[in-house]
Symmetry: C2
Subunit: 490 residues, 2 copies
């Protein structure tokens, strides 16, 4: 056995154990008995201990020192293993444990604070989380920018400077579009009536099938917050169901199908290796977003959905496919990121990016966060935040230490915009298939261009390779502006 083979065999077991830990998370959010929560946290901690020990195993350094890559694939494997090892070993074990301990506790404090609209109850632990992540960022950055080091964990190669510059270009166009849309004379209607939960789940399954989800290697369950989980031959999705809001169920499903199809679409030769998972959060989100928005909310696909929904649910206050397309894409003021439409969504992300960057850099004190949030929200959304759970307490992310994660959502949208431009150029008659409820020409293109490569290329290079051009925000903004101009007669 060569050093490369030894390293890959060791790594393969680590990847398999990481899949096990992931499955435990799926279990917890879908089927676990409520009373098992305390024991489960101990089981998870034991798995994390095993994984941390393997990821910082000193033999990895020896193997990396001796291993020679026979080809590009092997070189990419070694690059990803080296990055993971360096990140894992740069952070002192005591700091990693302290972060795990505090964030686990902070999530509960956040949930309680949100329920009680109690900002002061959350600020001390938030300050502690920020301090720990600043320390971790500094350890990882080794003299560079700590916030960049945190971003790099989710989106290798991205920096606050390039993201910030792009967001600064996007923001005025989106704010202006938002004003024109909300001020338009034509305002679409929403759905009325109730939609049976079982019938919603049946249609959700059919939508997943329409987008090419492989039921032999996945399953759909209900969870409080929809998510996808797992890699290789076992990538499961979840959705939620509310009687009066079927789009929530349907578009959550399509979104998670995008994530799962990415994992399931990766070349099976890469299974249980570092190349066998989506390459970054941004590229992952590009798949979920293009499935959900550019394809799932298109005029062609919603035309098919309208017929299906009328057949399955009867009357719901919408009389034709154009009005249905407008209802699916209705732009409405709102406080909550996860409920935001395509016009508002990225504005939510941009403000979180600016605020968290300032928090990590020490330019914004935790005590000033609420005022900063509310001022920015009023400026971009034209509305005054009426309560903390509609403002800075709405997201779980910061409580669990996710700083540097938010920008990958908009990066995903930007990448989806680029992929959509290239896809439409390659398949000019795509709408004919979508209008029949058949997304397979698009999903086949995405599998071939993006998904099957897994972690072979760096995130930006993955998108550039797929599109044939360097990604930027132009295609996304052009798409959004054209789409909403048409819907709102702007």
């Amino acid at each position: 056995m060569s050093a490369y083979d030894d390293l890959m065999a060791f790594q393969r077991e680590t990847e398999a154990l990481a899949q096990v830990a992931g499955r435990l998370g799926w279990d917890q959010e879908t089927v676990m008995p409520r009373g098992a929560a305390e024991q489960r946290s101990e089981e998870m901690a034991a798995m994390e201990g095993v994984l941390h020990a393997r990821r910082t195993d000193r033999r990895i350094a020896d193997w990396l020192g001796q291993a020679r890559a026979a080809d590009d694939v092997a070189a990419a494997q070694l690059r990803l293993i080296r990055r993971s090892y360096e990140r894992a070993t740069k952070v002192p074990a005591s700091l990693a444990q302290e972060i795990a301990r505090v964030t686990s506790m902070a999530q509960g404090i956040w949930a309680e604070a949100r329920a009680k609209e109690d900002v002061p109850g959350f600020l001390p632990v938030l300050a502690e989380v920020i301090r720990l992540r600043q320390e971790e960022g500094a350890a990882l950055a080794a003299g560079g920018d700590p916030y960049d080091a945190l971003i790099d964990d989710y989106e290798p190669g991205a920096t606050a400077a390039t993201i910030g510059a792009m967001f600064d270009r996007m923001r005025p166009r989106l704010v202006a579009l938002r004003g024109r849309v909300l001020g338009a004379a034509k305002q679409p209607a929403g759905l009325s009536g109730k939609f049976g939960e079982e019938a919603q789940m049946r249609f959700a399954r059919d939508l997943a099938t329409a987008f090419g989800y492989d039921w032999n290697r996945g399953r759909l369950d209900i969870a409080v917050h929809p998510f996808s989980s797992g890699s290789g031959d076992d990538a499961r999705i979840t959705t939620r169901v509310a009687e009066t809001d079927p789009f929530n169920c349907f578009y959550s499903t399509i979104h998670e199908v995008g994530h799962a199809c990415y994992e399931l679409g990766i070349d099976l030769d890469y299974r249980l290796t570092p190349l066998g998972s989506g390459v970054s959060m941004g590229v992952h989100e590009s798949q979920s977003r293009i499935y959900e928005n550019q394809l799932g909310r298109s005029r062609a696909f919603t035309g098919w959905m309208f017929g299906e929904m009328r057949a399955r649910f009867g009357e719901f206050g919408i009389d034709d496919a154009d009005a249905f397309h407008a209802a699916v894409n209705r732009v409405q003021p709102g406080f909550i990121r996860t409920e935001a439409d395509e016009v508002h969504y990225n504005l939510h992300i941009m403000m979180r990016f600016d605020l968290e960057r300032a928090l990590i850099r020490g330019d914004l004190a935790v005590g000033d966060l609420e005022a900063a949030w509310n001022d920015r929200f009023a400026a971009d959304f034209g509305v005054k935040v009426d309560r903390p759970s509609h403002g800075m307490l709405q997201d779980v992310h910061w409580s669990v230490g996710l700083f540097g994660y938010f920008p990958t959502y908009t990066l995903g949208n930007v990448y989806a915009g680029c992929l959509h431009r290239a896809l439409r150029a390659d398949i000019p008659d795509l709408d004919e298939a979508l209008a029949r409820g058949d997304a397979s020409p698009a999903t086949g293109w995405l599998r071939e261009r993006v998904q099957r490569h897994g972690g072979l290329r760096e995130p930006r290079a993955t998108i550039a390779h797929a599109c044939g051009f360097e990604p930027d925000e132009g295609p996304l903004l052009d798409y959004i502006e054209a789409k909403f101009a048409a819907i709102y007669d702007l």
Copy 2:
């Protein structure tokens, strides 16, 4: 930290990881996508590797050498850890790996051979499994009897000699009873009609509730072969559903509830420690069997069930509670162990015990197994085996290396008989509660006398402590003879 504390902290993580591995097994049999099987076997192997490394970790020997037990509980913990460590380290790693490899392969070969009625196709790999287990037994026995060493893994303290002597006392009484029952003038009728699967599952849930299953720490799902899984605060059960055979669903559920209630009933102070699991297969089976048979198939409880089933399912060809009790307990000739009634069941086990003991000791050649099986079956059951899947190919056990396991089923029945005698003596009016569908006086007694102690005492001592007398086969045989004499007017 003392050596004892260090050891227990290490052991606790191992126990938590073992729970994770168990949950993975549950997942595989209930919710796993079919296409994930190959990947799953790699994930399981990685978990087994982690667990084996921990169970043979040399620090355990050091800690055991230095640890001092402060009380009886600590002494029991040390005793169980020492036994596990000694067993794990006595078997060479290469042999353990070879057994894992061959039995994993053999299970597939067995399944195919059973489907094709192909005994010669199974014999070579069975011979290999036997050879490996002989070798393992010899390594464990260190000069003693290899088959005893294998039994000891499932039932510490039991030996082939004591089990064999007991079985020899039981067999003639059961064979004689079998003849009288099947020759009786009165023969009960069975159920007729179809029973909706959803309604069966609803009643199965109510039965689990009646037997005190804690839904906050468990759940019920469907599986091909019913099983229970997990410990501490997460002990799940499964059952199966067939439209024309509702008793299969109901009594599988009650059986698995017995297993799960044992795990859930153990003192929570023992959670994630060696004391926190059922002490042996035999004692485990005593819980599932007393729930299923002595309680669940009693005249009092089936009286309540009859009313419930009439209310839920309407007419099914049985007109009164006595006839229903007889139908539940109907004795019929049959080839299959898992479908056997209380009269036949132990006869199935005894023949497997004699055959596997002869195989492991080298007194029976694999090539002669089929003839030996069929001869013995004709002698004890009065019927000629008509095909291998009704004979020696019916059980998975030997293919996966389970030698020494079968006798624990009958040991469980014997222990259940003893517990039932003591229970009835302590709670003379138990039938009044059972007749209302309330098993709680019995389950409370079992929790207090058996379940809460977990692994504190050795298996036989666990039963003796609960009953107040040394266990033997008498109470079980007396109970069976009296019960079937009444049902069949013998």
